[in-house]
Symmetry: C2
DNA sequence: TTTAGTGCAAAAGTTTTGCATGGTC
DNA sequence: GACCATGCAAAACTTTTGCACTAAA
């Protein structure tokens, strides 16, 4: 993680009104540097491997905070395991490669009108939805 | 769970080529009788409350088997917790009430063409998708 | 009799919590 | 000094596994 990423992470935290402690900067910075997603355990291992003596509980607490502030997305590919990713703003879904776990954001979500209509048929008012798309990316198909 | 439900559960198991043991009949019968969904723990508690001395591990093993055979659906509302439900055949999604957990099947899924198109833009080949819709049902809105 | 299923207990794995310590305003 | 964040260890919780025992084909 470069100094630039650390500075950007600190900025993001500051703008969100979250105190930019060194641990939070490290965790968010790591997610900013990562193209795909990471579990709390993976994040912890990476930072430990760099000589950081941070606790696993801190990683969990930090990720929960970042997710609550909307600074990162929590994605669940498999039950019993939450992954975190620094994503763009706004409503979107994820396209994930089953092989290499590469994540792509899909921002062109056209589901709302359909969902509202279908929900109303069953007497429901739709309040939200979660879509996860699995696929195989170009690199993995070539290999 | 009535004798009729038990008979139906045994039929369903037999048709799927799964040996209809008494435990499997009980677990599937319970899911057939339930309108919404149940966790393994809830299922275990219900059957224990009836005086059945079945193990929690058996419930997990049975549910995994039923899900693999396509006899029940595994739904994940919250990460870290799998729910099971006896659903209709074919591809569908779930509309779940955030208040009472009532589940409705949505069978009119029109996502495939859109997903294939959007995936291709990113070099992916879409292989599957999971959509969970949250909402509030009529009963809960009235209350 | 041979195989598959089950109960119980222990283990595994992830996530949360309690509490003392340390850092920050 | 007051408050928030952190490390560490223990606990909580869901799910899986090992193994002896039982039931079924």
């Amino acid at each position: 993680m470069s100094a630039q990423q650390r500075a950007r992470a600190a900025d993001v935290l500051g703008e969100a009104g979250v105190r930019p402690t060194s641990r939070r900067v490290q965790v968010l910075g790591e997610l900013i540097a990562e193209r795909d997603d990471l579990t709390a355990q993976e994040l912890h291992e990476r930072l430990r491997a760099r000589g950081e003596r941070l606790g696993l509980a801190t990683v969990y607490r930090t990720l929960a905070l970042l997710a609550e502030e909307g600074l990162v997305d929590a994605i669940s590919h498999r039950p019993g395991e939450l992954c975190y990713r620094r994503c763009g703003e706004g409503h979107h879904h994820h396209l994930v490669c089953s092989d290499c776990h590469r994540v792509v954001e899909l921002s062109e979500c056209e589901l709302e009108p359909w969902l509202e209509r279908v929900s109303a048929v069953h007497g429901f008012v739709a309040t939200g939805h979660r879509l996860e798309v699995a696929g195989v990316c170009g690199d993995c198909r070539a290999a």
